[in-house]
């Protein structure tokens, strides 16, 4: 029987397996990235970095509900100068590291990428799709096809690293946005960011629970939406897709890959199953592939399509 091979080649980055730590979850320090690598992940993404330090929203910033999780962290991060120090000699973490870069205008993205250029990141990801941080993403209209094209083009000019554009599930024209990113030179689409935003009200307090009132929805609730987005984008673009949203088991990962993802991101899954969710997902994928006669990830990508 052939050996199961989970390794993938994503835009010329070699990953031992298709699982990626999604941005904003545990990606605050090099030590935590390393810890996640020890737990079997294929690649990791740092928490998004802006030009200046940001405190983010006040607590509560992350809560859960019956269908998943809500967060409005608000892009807290130490700013690019501190981040450049934190993530110096990033190659030590033992797996490819993706730098997530944010900005309120395209010059910010360029500035952050330039300042991080001494660290050996394997790729750059630009989320244009956060639903709960004023000045960024959806709240700054960075998710329109035009803005996506403009920001992606600007970033493309200043980096030779593989460039991933992360898009929102909240827009009907998701394929147009993905296409705009591809046309502007993106090497992959990360789909999707958190959904909504949503709101949870504590009825005894008579107030929204999150301090920012609304937050992005992730986890189980997001999965069917994310699967559909990836399925649609797969038909619209030629570049690979990193499928993110509600993945916490090997079956979920296979489902996302069948929809068209070449790799899969995991965030909320850490809440559902612990920091070793990556190891668990890989074991479950391996077993499923064994039982169902698949021996490489490539042979699964997009096979749910007609």
């Amino acid at each position: 029987m052939p050996k199961i091979d989970l390794s993938i080649n994503l835009c010329n980055i070699k990953l031992a397996n298709p699982t990626i730590l999604a941005s904003g979850i545990l990606g605050t320090t090099k030590a935590l990235l390393k810890r996640v690598v020890e737990n079997g992940v294929g690649a990791v993404t740092i928490k998004s970095v802006s030009t200046e330090p940001r405190e983010g929203h006040k607590n509560p910033t992350v809560i859960t509900f019956e269908g998943g999780m809500l967060n409005a962290v608000g892009y807290s991060n130490p700013g690019v100068d501190a981040a450049a120090i934190e993530f110096a000699s990033i190659e030590d973490v033992g797996a490819p590291v993706i730098a997530s870069v944010i900005g309120t205008q395209k010059e910010d993205f360029v500035q952050v990428i330039n300042r991080l250029s001494k660290s050996k990141f394997s790729a750059i990801e630009i989320p244009l799709s956060c639903p709960h941080t004023p000045g960024f993403g959806m709240l700054a209209e960075q998710g329109t096809p035009q803005a996506t094209f403009d920001i992606t083009s600007a970033v493309r000019k200043v980096t030779k690293l593989p460039l991933f554009v992360k898009i929102s599930p909240n827009i009907p024209e998701i394929c147009t946005v993905a296409k705009a990113a591809e046309d502007a030179g993106a090497d992959a689409i990360t789909a999707v960011n958190s959904m909504g935003p949503g709101m949870v009200i504590n009825i005894e307090a008579q107030k929204p629970v999150l301090s920012f009132k609304v937050g992005g929805v992730t986890g189980d609730a997001l999965r069917p939406i994310a699967i559909r987005c990836v399925y649609d984008i797969y038909k619209a673009v030629k570049i690979p897709i990193i499928g993110v949203g509600g993945i916490s088991t090997g079956r979920h990962a296979i489902e996302m890959i069948m929809a068209g993802a070449s790799a899969i991101g995991i965030g909320t899954g850490i809440y559902y199953r612990g920091i070793d969710v990556f190891k668990k997902v890989c074991e479950e994928m391996t077993q499923w592939m064994q039982e169902n006669g698949f021996y490489s990830i490539n042979s699964i990508v997009g096979i749910a399509h007609d």
């Binding site: 605050t28 935590l32 910033t61 859960t64």
Partner: protein, 254 residues
């Protein structure tokens, strides 16, 4: 489990010292000494506090007045509502019949209080800057007290007093909570004498359940891997006693 605050009413308030009040509320929390809860004041903020009293469905948090949030807690009245979620994290390990010592610096004593009750026969060290800051004097009658100004008890820090005690006796286990520099020195003292030590760390907490990465200490998440860490784990945590991470993700010295 759903990580959302549940509103409880303040059942009683007691003053522990000029700067520390204990707020009591009814709760059926499944709580272990060393764990913490997130306390929410709607529209204001949400912050971590250890449960310092826990008896027959009555739980209490002892709050040191520090900034905006703890001030707001101090201004609350009986009957006011608070949101709580948790308990979170890994508490202290509680082996039976060990000869042990708890060392509390300042409000750190709050984290050790229910542990102390559970352990029963245990040596207690509490240290503060000055006499008025000592808490739980009625609660724990036989504490070894120290103050930096010598206004009561031994004159010196908890580290000094603990070192004195070690000259006369030994312990199989030591539990410490207080300023990180202090905990680090207790940890070193214990290490040099092959005493097992557990300390409860303090980092900025956001989610409280291990996803946001805010509370990192050398790859350990204070909120879920800790806040209590034993010596063998602390030995591998380079940031312990050295750096912490501010709300905005910047590193600072402890």
């Amino acid at each position: 489990m759903i990580e959302q605050p549940i509103m409880v009413r303040i059942f009683d308030i007691t003053k522990e010292s000029p700067g520390v009040k204990t707020l009591f509320f009814k709760s059926k929390l499944n709580f272990e000494p060393g764990q913490f809860i997130m306390v929410w004041i709607p529209l204001l903020d949400e912050k971590p506090f250890t449960i310092s009293y826990f008896q027959e469905e009555l739980a209490g948090i002892s709050v040191l007045k520090k900034g905006l949030f703890t001030n707001a807690l101090h201004n609350m009245k009986k009957g006011d509502k608070l949101g709580i979620r948790g308990p979170y994290g890994r508490g202290f390990s509680i082996p039976k019949t060990l000869n042990s010592c708890v060392v509390g610096g300042g409000i750190g004593m709050a984290s050790l209080a229910t542990l102390t009750e559970r352990l029963g026969n245990v040596t207690i060290v509490q240290g503060t800057k000055t006499a008025s800051e000592i808490i739980y004097r009625e609660r724990f009658k036989n504490m070894n007290i120290c103050t930096e100004d010598g206004s009561i008890g031994f004159k010196g820090t908890t580290v000094d007093l603990f070192a004195e005690l070690l000259k006369k006796q030994s312990f199989q286990r030591v539990y410490a909570c207080g300023p990180e520099k202090m905990m680090y020195r207790i940890f070193e003292l214990c290490n040099s004498r092959y005493i097992e030590c557990e300390v409860s760390l303090d980092r900025y907490i956001k989610c409280g359940f291990g996803v946001c990465g805010q509370c990192d200490c050398s790859g350990q998440r204070i909120c879920i891997d800790g806040p209590v860490f034993p010596s063998n784990e602390l030995s591998n945590m380079k940031d312990f006693g050295k750096t912490l991470i501010l709300k905005n993700g910047k590193r600072a010295y402890c």
